[in-house]
């Protein structure tokens, strides 16, 4: 009654798990960019400046933020790796 994953050697199994760590990463990055864009859009609509500064600045910040997030998340995994 052992399932296929358990039958794998332990090293392969932890490798399988470490891929799973990243399954949410892409969507989270997209989510970060979207939320930043939305906040910028919302600010522009409220302030109604001549030029949509906040949409542009915040969407770029969102991309920078998602990159920072990517670096941080993947870096954390290496820490675990060395500790193990």
């Amino acid at each position: 009654m052992s399932d296929p994953i358990r039958r794998l050697p332990r090293r392969t199994r932890s490798g399988y798990n470490s891929y799973l760590r990243f399954t949410g990463l892409g969507l989270t990055m997209v989510g970060i960019i979207l939320v930043f864009c939305f906040i910028g859009y919302w600010l522009d609509r409220i302030l109604a400046w001549k030029y949509p500064v906040f949409t542009i600045v915040l969407s770029l910040l969102g991309i920078a933020g998602s990159m920072a997030y990517l670096f941080k998340e993947t870096g954390k995994r290496d820490q675990h790796h060395f500790r193990a």
Binding site: R6, R21, G24, L27, T28, G65, A68
Partner: protein
């Protein structure tokens, strides 16, 4: 599984049911009144928007010479219903429980709606949701008018198809686990028998490969939740694959249910998060100040986005599986409409593909339960992890 753990498990399940029912009905209500604003609600609304009697309507239209509408059939099957379609024209009526701030509570069988064709007790079904009307009982819905202000004051907390499905899975889980827990106390130290053989490898799998590997030494605190989540999702994924009663309700493909599951994970992470966890979110150590300026808002966003992604993943995967199977079946009718022979020819292919996809869905049922549990465990692990110094 000790008795306290079992009780905790049961209370979690009941809690999730109550939340699920309330949020599902509330979201449906919001949709009916068109006043939802946020992303979650609009996603829910698009799912709940499915016509409750759509599968039957789609086929009836085809029978009466109209065109077969595959979209209507599919959306009807993956959505929730006030009644459980068994076969042909037989539908299991379910209790309608409606609370209206002016009329009070009304409880009656959904059979009075006559498959959504008639009004009853001042209510009728319009596009899958219960709306208020002032027309007399038994009026055809096409001639009845919706009372907008009364509808806004209506709260539908009926036992729908999904809620009944939740009850059934709850009964199955309680039956199996009380049985297993008794067997462990009665036969301590002996070889497992019966249901024990079935669940013990999975419990050990969740303990060793999910909880231990993702949370670390403090994993035992979170085992009741992880096991509950795993077995709840796994069982409901499997029940969703059974095409006839008591299966086929697409419970884990209902975003309100996955919302509650993800919300429980979010609450556990937020409540159990230690100083180390909050420090990493609010001010990541070893990061220069100008990066923190952008990283801290992103981390705070990530705190909410992680469970959000958890919710979307389970919902999308299970719903996609249902849509694929239904699409293959719809192909038969789409081709059959042009030529009966083409319909029969396509049905062979459709059946083969559906069998293949169902086999794949059996795997997906396990994988999605595993992924949800594992990622929950990972988020919890990150929240309770003790700082390590080298």
């Amino acid at each position: 599984m000790s008795i306290p753990n079992l009780l905790r498990t049961a209370s979690l399940l009941i809690g999730s049911f109550l939340f699920g029912a309330a949020s599902a009905q509330h979201d449906g209500h919001d949709h009916a009144t068109h006043d939802h604003v946020d992303v979650v609600d609009s996603t829910v609304a698009s799912v709940v928007a499915a016509d409750s009697d759509a599968p039957k309507l789609a086929l009836e239209e085809a029978e009466h010479g109209g065109r077969f509408d595959a979209g209507k059939l599919i959306m009807g099957h993956i959505g929730d219903e006030h009644g459980w379609h068994l076969w042909g024209h037989t539908t299991l009526p379910l209790p309608i429980i409606v609370y209206n701030t002016e009329r009070g509570v009304s409880i009656f069988s959904s059979g009075h709606f006559d498959h959504g064709h008639k009004t009853y007790g001042g209510y009728m079904i319009h596009e899958g949701s219960i709306v208020a009307t002032k027309d007399a009982d038994g009026t055809d819905v096409h001639h009845a008018t919706i009372d907008e202000p009364l509808t806004k004051a209506t709260w539908d907390i009926s036992i729908t198809k999904n809620v009944l499905s939740l009850f059934i899975s709850l009964a199955i889980l309680l039956f199996v686990f009380i049985n297993v827990a008794k067997a462990y106390t009665r036969r301590a130290g002996q070889a497992p028998t019966g249901f024990q053989n079935m669940v013990e490898p999975i419990i050990l799998f969740v303990r060793d490969d999910v909880a231990k590997s993702a949370i670390g030494p403090r994993y035992m605190t979170f085992m009741p939740y992880l096991l509950t989540a795993f077995f709840f999702i796994f069982l409901n994924n499997l029940l969703g694959l059974v095409p006839f009663f008591p299966g086929g309700a697409n419970l884990t493909g209902n975003i309100a249910v996955t919302l509650v599951l993800a919300l429980i994970t979010f609450i556990i992470v937020t409540v159990k998060g230690n100083k180390h966890y909050w420090q990493h979110i609010l001010a990541m150590p070893g990061v220069p100040g100008w990066v923190l300026f952008i990283l801290t808002p992103v981390e705070i966003l990530g705190m909410f986005l992680k469970p959000f992604v958890l919710m979307i993943r389970l919902f999308a995967n299970i719903t996609a599986g249902h849509i694929i199977a239904l699409s293959f079946f719809s192909l038969i009718f789409v081709f059959g409409e042009t030529n009966a022979g083409a319909g029969y020819g396509v049905s062979v292919m459709s059946l083969a593909f559906t069998v293949f996809m169902t086999m794949l869905e059996l795997l997906v049922a396990f994988i999605q339960a595993y992924v949800f549990t594992f990622l929950s465990a990972m988020y919890i692990g990150a929240a309770v992890e003790e700082p390590h110094h080298h």
